[in-house]
C-alpha cells in the first residue's frame, strides 16, 4: 500500500493551487451529497440515491491524474466522478430533481450522469455492465492510435460478475489502455466482501489475466493521485491494462433506503474518525500550504455553490411532455 507522510507533499511537486483545488473538489462533492440527502428526505429527489460520502479522496485523486483526452466511465455511484470531471453542480442537482436543465434532461437520474464533451461516458447501473464498454472505448483509442487511456471505475462487488472477467481478459489479450479502478469499500451493497469473494485482495484478481496491479489507500487523495499516475503511464506506454484497488469506505448506506443492518455503528464511527477530507485539510495546514481561514473560505464557497445548485434545480422546469419520444433512436424514421 502506498502511504503518504506530510513531507511527501513537497516531493510531489504540486503547487499550492493544485493542492487546495483537490481539497476544494472533495468538499464540493461532500456538500453536494449532503444536500442531495437532505433534498431526498424532503421528497424533492426520488428513486435511487447512492452517496459518495467518505469516498471522495478516491474519485478526486483518480480524476486529477487524468488528461482531458482520457476517458472516464463509472458505476452508478457517479456524482463524485461527475463533479471531479467538471460537471456543474447546477446541472447535476437538477438531474436529481428530474428537471429539464439536468445533465441528461431528466432521462437518467442519479445513476446516469454523463458529459461527453469532457470524455465522461457516464454512470451505469447494472453492476459490472459498463466494464465491457470500457474495453470497447479502450479498443477505439488503440485502433485510432489516440494515446488516450480509459479509466473504468467499479466496486468490489462487480469483480465477482462475469462481465468483469470477460472484459479484463479481452483487455489483457489485446493490451488495451484501460485502468480498472476498483473501489473496495468492503461491502457489495449489504454483503461483506469476505462472504462473497474468494479473494479479498481485489488487486490479486488481475493475476489471472496477467495484468499489472496495485493497492492504494483510497482515503489519501495524494496517494490515489500518485498511484493513478503510475497506472495511467503504464497504459499510455502500451503495456496493456492495469488494475488499481482503492481501499475506501462509504460513510452512508448503500442507498438512501439502506437500514445498515450489516455493519456496526462502531465500525462506521471508526472510519469516520479518519475522514479523508479532514485528514487532507489538517495535513495541508500542518505543512503550511494554506491556513485555517483559507479553508474556511473554501468551505463557505462550496456551501454557497451547492445551495445555489439546489435553488437552480428547484426553479428549473420539468421536461416538456411533448419530448417524451425523443432520444429513442439516433436516426429518423418510424420509431414505434
Amino acid at each position: 500500500m502506498t502511504s503518504s507522510g506530510g513531507s511527501r507533499i513537497k516531493e510531489l511537486a504540486l503547487e499550492k493551487d493544485d493542492l487546495v483545488d483537490l481539497y476544494r473538489q472533495m468538499i464540493l462533492i461532500r456538500e453536494f451529497e449532503e444536500h442531495a440527502a437532505e433534498q431526498y428526505a424532503r421528497g424533492r429527489i426520488a428513486g435511487f440515491l447512492h452517496l459518495y460520502i467518505g469516498e471522495e479522496a478516491t474519485g478526486v485523486g483518480a480524476v486529477s491524474a487524468m488528461e482531458d483526452r482520457d476517458h472516464l466511465i463509472t458505476h452508478y455511484r457517479d456524482h463524485g466522478y461527475a463533479l471531479a470531471r467538471g460537471v456543474a453542480p447546477d446541472a447535476a442537482m437538477a438531474e436529481l430533481f428530474g428537471k429539464e436543465t439536468g445533465i441528461v434532461h431528466g432521462r437518467g437520474g442519479s445513476m446516469h450522469f454523463s458529459d461527453v464533451s469532457k470524455n465522461f461516458w457516464g454512470g451505469y447501473a447494472i453492476v459490472a455492465g459498463h466494464i465491457p464498454l470500457a474495453s470497447g472505448l479502450g479498443l477505439a483509442s488503440q485502433y485510432q492510435d489516440l494515446g488516450s487511456v480509459v479509466v473504468c471505475i467499479f466496486g468490489d462487488g462487480a469483480t465477482n460478475a462475469g462481465a468483469f472477467h470477460e472484459a479484463a481478459n479481452l483487455a489483457s489479450v489485446w493490451k488495451l489502455p484501460i485502468v480498472f479502478l476498483v473501489e473496495n469499500n468492503l461491502y457489495g451493497m449489504g454483503t461483506a466482501v469476505e462472504y462473497v469473494s474468494a479473494v479479498n485482495d481485489m488487486s490479486r484478481k488481475a493475476m489471472a489475466y496477467d495484468m499489472a496491479s496495485a493497492r492504494v489507500d483510497g482515503q489519501d487523495v495524494l496517494a490515489v493521485r500518485e498511484a493513478m499516475q503510475v497506472a495511467l503511464e503504464h497504459c499510455r506506454s502500451g503495456n496493456g491494462p492495469y488494475l488499481l484497488e482503492s481501499l475506501t469506505y462509504r460513510f452512508r448506506g448503500h442507498s438512501m433506503a439502506d437500514p445498515e443492518s450489516y455493519r456496526s455503528k462502531e465500525e462506521v464511527e471508526r472510519f469516520r474518525k479518519d475522514d479523508p477530507i479532514v485528514l487532507f485539510r489538517n495535513k495541508l495546514i500542518e505543512d503550511g500550504v494554506a491556513t485555517q481561514e483559507e479553508f474556511d473560505q473554501i468551505d463557505a464557497d462550496a456551501l454557497k455553490e451547492i445551495e445555489q445548485a439546489v435553488q437552480f434545480a428547484e426553479d428549473s422546469p420539468v421536461p416538456d411532455p411533448s419530448t417524451l419520444d425523443e432520444f429513442i433512436y439516433a436516426d429518423s424514421g418510424d420509431v414505434r
Binding site: 476517458h71 441528461v104 434532461h105 432521462r107 437518467g108 446516469h112 454523463s114 458529459d115 461527453v116 461516458w121 457516464g122 451505469y124 447494472i126 455492465g129 459498463h130 466494464i131 465491457p132 464498454l133 470500457a134 474495453s135 470497447g136 472505448l137 479502450g138 479498443l139 477505439a140 483509442s141 485502433y143 485510432q144 462475469g162 462481465a163 470477460e166 472484459a167 481478459n169 479481452l170 489479450v173 489485446w174 425523443e326 432520444f327 429513442i328 433512436y329 439516433a330 436516426d331 424514421g333 418510424d334 420509431v335 414505434r336
Partner: protein
Amino acid sequence: MARELSYRDALREALHEEMDRDERVFLMGEDIGAYGGSYVVTNGFLEEYGRKRVRDTPISELGIVGAAVGAAMGGLRPIIELMTINFSLLAIDQIVNHAAKLHYMFAGTITAPVVIRTASGWGQLGPTHSQTFEGWYAHVPGLRVVMPATPRDAKGFLKTAARGNDPVVFIEHSLLYRNRGEVEEPDAGDLLLPLEGAEVRREGTDVTLVSWSRGYYLALGAAEELAKEGISAEVIDMRVLRPLDIDTVVESVKKTNHLVTVEESWRTLGVGSEIAAAVQELAFDYLDAPIARVGSRETPVPYAKNLERLIFPDRDKVVEAVKGVLARNLVSVS
C-alpha cells in the same frame, strides 16, 4: 443490372463494400478470422483485412457485445458476429440494458452504432441450438431488428445498418445462406435499403399471409399450393420487426379480410401475436374470421429428426391454417 447471388455472398459483398469504404468498420466475433466464420460468411476476410479489422475474440458474448458498444461510443463502426442467436442470450444485458439504452439515458449525447449479426436456424441441433428469439429483441424500444429473407435485403440492410447510428440486431438464418436471389451489381451504386417497411411479395385477394425470414418461404409455398385450389393468398414479408410496419398488413387485410401469421418461433407472446393484436385494433371491422397464428410447437426442440419435424411449421401446416380461417368465414354466418 442484377445477377443471382446467394444470401451468404450477398452478406459478404455488403461487408466487403463497407469495410473498403470506411476504415472505422471492423469485424469482431468468435471464429470469424482464422476459422472463417461458423457459417463461412467471413471466410478470407482475415487474410484480406488483417487482424486489426478482423478480430477473433474469446468465447465471451457479453464481452464482445460490450466491447462493440464501447468501440462504437469511441467512434468506430463495429459489425460483430454472435455465432447463433441462442448464444446472444449471454449478451442480452449488453444488448438491452446498454446498447438499447445509451442514446436515451444520456439524452441523445451518446450513440451506439453497432451491428450485431447473428443467426437463427435449426436442423437436428437440439434444445439449446434451435431457437428463434427475434421477438425478445423486437420487444425493446431503442433497438432496430431486421430479419432478411432474401439476398437483396440481406445485402441492402447490412450496408444501411453499418452506416446508421442505432444498434441493429441483424438476424440471419442458417437454412437460408445458400438461397439465391437477384441482387443489383455493385457498379449500379450502393444498395442501401431503409431499415423499415414490409413488402407485399405476392398479391392475392382471399387471405393475407404474413411472415419473415425463412417463414416467408413457407408462406410463399403455401400460397402456391392454395392457388391450385383456387384460393388467392397475398404474401407479406415483414423484413423488419422493429419498427414493425403494421400499416402494410392492415392495408392488405382490408382487401383480403383474412389473416394468417407464420413464424418459426413459439406463438406465445411472439411477433405473430403482436401483429394479430395490432390488426384487430386497427382493422377489426374488416376481419371476416379470427386471425390464425402458425408457429412452432410449445416445447423445446428435440434432436430426433422425426420429432423435430413435428415441431416447426411447414408449408402444409400453413395451408391447413388458411383453410381453417376461410372455413370460419364470419360473412357466411351473418
